[in-house]
């Protein structure tokens, strides 16, 4: 009798040792394939997508259903009170709105005249709802309820509260995984606003609970950067669109090498209570290797 295949009645079963070995090899191959490459976002994702599609849809549905129910229970009472208050406000605001619309029309006309259009309003955004968070305590990823069927693609930037949240790292048909900038495996190239000196914003698990993010590699020989300085995404980043607000500098210290500075940034986004996000459907323009070859 072969040692690999054990006879049990009429069914053949693989001993668990061999099963473990086979699955280990499978996992290692999958890890090697998806580490550092975009295979998971490319052809491999479609395969994985079809295998897990029923799961995904079930989870997204059930997840948002559960989230909705628990929220509804808490909010019904608040909503009733709020509704009354809001009705009054609606009346007031409608009249205000008409005045504002007139003013806005005038403003856009003047802005066009001055060629000073605000940066953010150029980007087209899609609103999405967070349906589930990271299943581990190590990273800060979350899943939103829009996928490639809604025009979302990997590397699209995600915003909330007027600041940068992160970027889409993989998409399914009706979900997208977003890696937040506070996540320990995230790095964003940023710039301090008035002077334009660049720095590297990297998420840190240990600083995350203090509500700050770490930055480093800041070359500031003229000591221009001070706490309170505004940090936006820099134009040299290849994934992030430029001039999206990240946060304000909290502290600056000189590194041991006496050349660069590092410190912490307070993000403008409240990551703890994030519910809805805006996904910018415009991708950062970059030199595509495949296009260059064609």
């Amino acid at each position: 009798m072969s040692p690999i295949i054990k006879r049990k009645g009429e069914r053949f079963t693989l001993p668990s040792k061999y099963l473990l070995f086979i699955l280990t090899v499978l996992c290692s191959v999958a890890m090697l394939l998806t580490f550092g490459t975009d295979l998971f976002n490319g052809p491999f994702n479609t395969v994985a997508g079809y295998v897990v599609l029923p799961f995904q849809e079930g989870i997204s549905e059930a997840g948002s259903w559960l989230a909705n129910r628990s929220e509804e229970l808490v909010q019904i009472r608040q909503l009733l009170e709020e509704n009354e208050r809001l009705q009054e406000q609606v009346a007031k605001l409608t009249s205000e709105n008409t005045i504002l619309q007139q003013e806005r029309y005038e403003l856009t006309r003047l802005q066009e005249l001055m060629e000073l259009k605000e940066k953010y309003s150029q980007y087209d955004t899609v609103g999405a709802r967070i349906i589930s968070r990271d299943s581990s305590n190590w990273y800060s990823n979350f899943t939103v309820n829009k996928g490639y069927e809604d025009g979302i693609a990997a590397d699209m930037n995600v915003m909330a509260d007027g600041g940068l949240v992160g970027r889409v790292t993989s998409v399914g048909p009706n979900w997208a995984k977003v890696t937040a900038i506070i996540s320990d495996n995230s790095n964003v190239s940023g710039a301090v606003m008035p002077s334009g000196v660049t720095l590297m914003v990297s998420g840190d698990l240990m600083l995350m609970r203090d509500g700050v993010i770490r930055f480093g590699q800041l070359l500031d020989s003229e000591n221009e950067v001070e706490p309170g300085g505004k940090v936006v995404t820099s134009s040299i980043s290849d994934k992030y669109l430029s001039d999206i607000l990240i946060g304000y500098i909290d502290s600056v210290t000189l590194d041991a090498n006496n050349l660069t500075k590092s410190g912490t940034i307070t993000p403008v986004v409240d990551f703890e209570h994030l519910e809805e996000v805006l996904i910018i459907t415009q991708l950062k323009q970059s030199v595509n290797e495949e296009d260059a070859l064609d």
Partner: protein, 172 residues
């Protein structure tokens, strides 16, 4: 067949709970690890084979929705399930001490493996603060949830085993 369906539903249910409900019930950003509870309890209740398979699928689910690379959590949880299966011989359903001990040790191992492979290798050497900040709170929260979840899993397993025994007798 019924066992497979019920196990799959249980895994999905726990995954949904972990990523939605427990995220809003977190303590200082820490959530319990239901996947470890499931994997190790099926490991010592049903043996190596089932433990490693359930670990693999639990991990795969985590990988797809939150991992950086596909297969990492699947591999960690698979080995946890397999190792827990080694204790199948000395497992008795009446005894709660062994399951609790195994689940805590499993969650600790899971945390330490994650720290070593995901953080230590990237040059984050502050081991003690990661233990105090992430691994220990997670293990404590997990054990609290175990008191609720484990009896349910045990009951489901007992029902299934009784049913399987009955249907086996019919065919004999």
């Amino acid at each position: 067949m019924l066992r497979k369906i019920i196990t799959a539903v249980l895994i999905l249910f726990c995954f949904i709970l972990q990523t939605t409900v427990f995220r809003s019930l977190d303590f200082g950003g820490i959530i319990p690890n239901l996947m470890v509870i499931l994997t190790s309890s099926f490991g010592f209740m049903r043996g190596e084979r089932e433990g490693l398979l359930i670990g693999f699928f639990c991990g795969l689910l985590c990988d797809i929705f939150s991992g950086d690379m596909l297969g990492f959590y699947a591999m960690v949880l698979m080995y946890l399930g397999f190792l827990n299966g080694k204790f199948n011989q000395i497992f008795y359903p009446e005894d709660i001490k062994l399951p609790l001990a195994l689940i805590v040790v499993s969650d600790f191992t899971y945390g330490i493996v994650c720290y070593v492979l995901l953080f230590l290798l990237r040059g984050k050497f502050d081991f003690l603060s990661y233990v105090a900040g992430i691994i220990l709170p997670e293990a404590i929260y997990t054990i609290v949830v175990t008191f609720v979840l484990y009896p349910i899993v045990l009951k489901i397993n007992e029902r299934l085993e009784a049913r399987e025994k009955r249907s086996a007798q019919i065919f004999v």
